[in-house]
C-alpha cells in the first residue's frame, strides 16, 4: 500500500465529510474570482511543472533544447535579474536532460549573476548543493533545490526592497521556459502540445507586474523592450479551450519569444 493509499484508508471518515462539503459548494462569483490572491510563490508555475506536462505528450530529447551559455556580466541590474530567471529555467532543461556538467555550469553562472546583484550570501550554499546533487544525479532533489534557490534570491531582493527585480526574475524564467516549450511544440506540432501553451492567467499577471515596475526600472532599455513585446504574447496564450493555436500561430509565438530572449541576453551599449 502506498503512503497516499494509507492516508486515504486511515482518513476515510474525514474524506466523506470533506467530499460532502465540496458537493455543496456554490460556484465562485466573478467578484470572488477577480479578488483571488495571485502570488509569485504559488500562482506562477515553475518551469519544471510546464516541462513535466510536455513529457506526457511527447518523448523529448531535452539535451537538444539547451541553449549556448549566455553572458553573466550585464551592466544593468534589471537585465541581470531577467537573465537570472532565464538561467534557472535553463537549469530545469538540463535536469530533464540529466546533464550533470551542464547543471553545474548553470549553477556557477547563477552564482556569478547573483553576486553581480549583491546576493551571493543567499545562493552560495544553494550553489554547492546544486553541484552535489548534480554529482549524485539526484534529479528530483535538484528541481526542488533550483526552486529554493530562486525563492531565496527573491527573498534577498525583497529584503533589500528590490521588488522590481523579483518581478524580472519571474518574467525571465517564464519567458525562457516558454521559449523552450513553444519552440519544441512549433517544430513537433500536436494538438495536445499546443493546448499546454494556454496560460492566460500567467501572461495577464506578468504584464500587470511589469506595468507596476518603478520608473527607473521601466527606463532600462531591455525592460522597456520586454514590456512592449510581452503585451503581444497574450493573444497566443489566451486562446479558448476549444481553439488551440495552429502550427503557424505557434511558430509566430516561438519567434516572438526568441526575439525577446535575444533582447534580454544582448549586452547594452551605454
Amino acid at each position: 500500500m502506498t503512503p497516499i493509499s494509507r492516508i486515504f484508508v486511515s482518513g476515510l471518515a474525514a474524506v466523506c465529510l470533506c467530499a460532502s462539503a465540496a458537493g455543496e459548494a456554490t460556484p465562485l462569483t466573478p467578484e470572488e474570482i477577480s479578488g483571488a490572491a495571485r502570488t509569485d510563490e504559488l500562482s506562477i508555475p515553475m518551469p519544471g511543472e510546464f516541462m513535466a506536462s510536455l513529457n506526457k505528450v511527447a518523448k523529448i530529447d531535452w539535451s537538444k533544447l539547451a541553449r549556448l551559455a549566455i553572458g553573466t556580466n550585464y551592466s544593468s541590474r534589471p537585465q541581470n535579474a531577467l537573465n537570472l530567471g532565464g538561467l534557472i529555467a535553463d537549469g530545469y532543461v538540463a535536469i530533464e536532460a540529466e546533464d550533470a556538467p551542464q547543471i553545474k555550469s548553470i549553477g556557477k553562472d547563477i552564482l556569478v549573476i547573483s553576486k553581480n546583484l549583491g546576493l551571493s550570501k543567499e545562493v552560495l550554499e544553494r550553489g554547492s548543493s546544486i553541484i552535489n546533487f548534480a554529482d549524485q544525479k539526484q534529479w528530483d532533489q535538484l528541481k526542488e533545490e533550483l526552486e529554493a534557490t530562486q525563492n531565496e534570491v527573491k527573498a534577498g531582493m525583497a529584503e533589500r526592497k528590490d521588488d522590481d527585480l523579483v518581478t524580472l526574475v519571474t518574467v525571465g524564467g517564464w519567458l525562457r521556459a516558454t521559449e523552450v516549450m513553444s519552440g519544441y511544440i512549433a517544430k513537433n506540432y500536436s494538438d495536445g502540445g499546443a493546448r499546454l501553451l494556454r496560460q492566460p492567467g500567467i501572461v495577464a499577471l506578468l504584464n500587470k507586474r511589469l506595468e507596476k515596475l518603478g520608473e527607473k526600472t521601466q527606463e532600462d532599455a531591455v525592460v522597456a523592450t520586454v514590456r512592449k513585446k510581452m503585451a503581444g504574447l497574450e493573444k497566443f496564450t489566451a486562446f479558448p479551450l476549444d481553439k488551440p493555436p495552429t502550427a503557424e500561430e505557434l511558430k509566430q509565438l516561438s519567434s516572438l519569444i526568441s526575439e525577446i530572449m535575444k533582447d534580454i541576453t544582448k549586452k547594452q551599449t551605454k
Binding site: 506536462s53 526552486e147 529554493a148
Partner: protein, 143 residues
Amino acid sequence: MKRLLCILALAALAAAAPLRAASDDEVAARKLALEIAGAFSNDGFKLRDGNWCGKFEPGKPALVQVNLYAGNQYWFTVGAGEAAKKIAVTVFDENGKLVATEPYADAAVAAAGFAPKNSGPYYLRVEVTEGAPAAFCLIYSYR
C-alpha cells in the same frame, strides 16, 4: 535513503526564510501541510518550495489563483493553526465552477488531489469549517 532525502528536503523547506516573517501559528500550519505533502513526495510528486500563508476564519474563506497544466497531477495541501478544528480545500475552474477532486481531511489539515483536463487558471479556496480563526499555509505538489 529516499525517505531520508525527503525528510531532509522537507526540513530544509521548513527552515527556508519566507518573504515575510511568519507567526508561530503559521509555522505550525506549514509544518502540518509539509508532513502530509511528504507522503505525496514518496509517490513521485515534486513539492513546490513556494507556499501561500495567511489567516482565515469561519465564514471567511481565502482564495488564490494557480495556473495548472493538463496532463500533470496535483495535490494541494493546507495546514492550519490549532484553533481551526476542521478545514477544507476546494478547487474551482477558471469560470468558478467546482471541480471534482480526491479529498483528504484530518482536523487541521486538508488536501485535494486533481488532474486537470485543460491547462489554465484554477482557483483554490481554503476555509475553516469548524473552529476559530487561525493561520493557514497552502503548498502544492505535482507530477
